[in-house]
């Protein structure tokens, strides 16, 4: 399993800031929203500033021509494409995964689509029956979008993260997991956390604090 950083954690950040955040937190690379990349460079060079990018997330509404253009960019950069909606045909020569949430029907549709097209699925973790969605999708799972980590450790969105990470580990998952912000979380929280020197949080310290507060 490789941990990535989603560019959504640092809205408006430059490629250098994203790289710095990855270095600071020893993350393996980036998932970048296509809408954050605005360039007139040739397709060979579009992703050059985003060294370490693994996935490019495309907008919900995309034309066939736009998909082909992004596929060209992705293929030249050696990265995969994340689709928010199913398309009729997928580009060749580039990994593609369809995003679904923790919704069993949606997950099943994504798996069916992925198998038909020889693609993968990307699980955006939301509230719901995670165990059933895991069982349903693991065969096609190539990427997970995980909210509730890092600076959100004390937020309700973080609950159950341990169980999910453990299931991925026990299944020997070797795909990617990107850290994403939960809806409504103050972007300043992520910015501070990503660029500060403090650690991720210690389990031993958390247990001591829990014992103190229970006493």
């Amino acid at each position: 399993m490789r941990l990535l950083l989603s560019s959504e954690t640092l809205p408006g950040a430059s490629p250098e800031e994203l790289r710095q955040a990855c270095r600071q937190r020893a993350l393996a690379g980036l998932e970048v929203q296509a809408s954050q990349i605005y360039t007139t460079m040739s397709s060979d060079a579009v992703l050059e500033p985003y060294a370490g990018i693994a996935w490019l997330r495309l907008p919900e509404t995309i034309t066939t021509r736009e998909l082909a253009l992004w596929a060209d960019v992705a293929a030249r950069g050696g990265v995969g494409l994340l689709l928010s909606k199913a398309v009729d045909s997928i580009p060749e020569g580039v990994p593609v995964a369809l995003i679904h949430r923790t919704d069993l029907d949606e997950a099943r549709e994504a798996v069916t689509w992925a198998k038909r097209h020889g693609a993968g699925t990307c699980w955006e973790v939301t509230p719901g029956d995670r165990d059933r969605v895991f069982d349903e999708t693991f065969g096609t799972l190539v990427h997970v979008r995980l909210p509730g980590s890092g600076p959100e450790a004390d937020e309700p969105t973080s609950a159950g993260t341990g169980a999910l990470i453990a299931r991925l580990a026990m299944a020997r998952y070797a795909g990617t997991v990107s850290l994403i912000p939960s809806a409504g979380v103050d972007p300043a929280l992520w910015r501070r956390w990503l660029l500060e020197q403090r650690g991720w949080g210690c389990g031993t310290a958390a247990e001591k604090a829990a014992r103190r507060s229970a006493a």
Partner: protein, 81 residues
């Protein structure tokens, strides 16, 4: 097709601190004798080793694969039957 690895890798960094140790112990308990997983953390988890020694005496072997400065990787194995 899902990408799978030969190793079970438990990267505990994204796990909220209050869930870290319960997750690690649950993962260990799910192993069969002779199996292992690789724990990834952002600091030396030596207090966890003491906790393992206390709570699972004689059942754990602990081998550092990487010792910082940013990442620690520890192979945690369950003793054979």
């Amino acid at each position: 097709m899902a990408q799978t690895d030969t190793e079970r890798v438990l990267d505990v960094r994204p796990i909220p601190p209050r869930e870290k140790h319960p997750t690690i112990f649950a993962t260990f308990d799910a192993l069969k004798p002779g199996e292992h997983f690789v724990l990834v953390n952002d600091h030396d988890p030596v207090p966890l080793k003491y906790q393992f020694d206390f709570e699972r005496p004689g059942k754990v072997t602990w081998e550092y694969l990487e010792r910082g400065p940013q990442l620690w990787r520890v192979k945690i194995s369950k003793a054979g039957a």
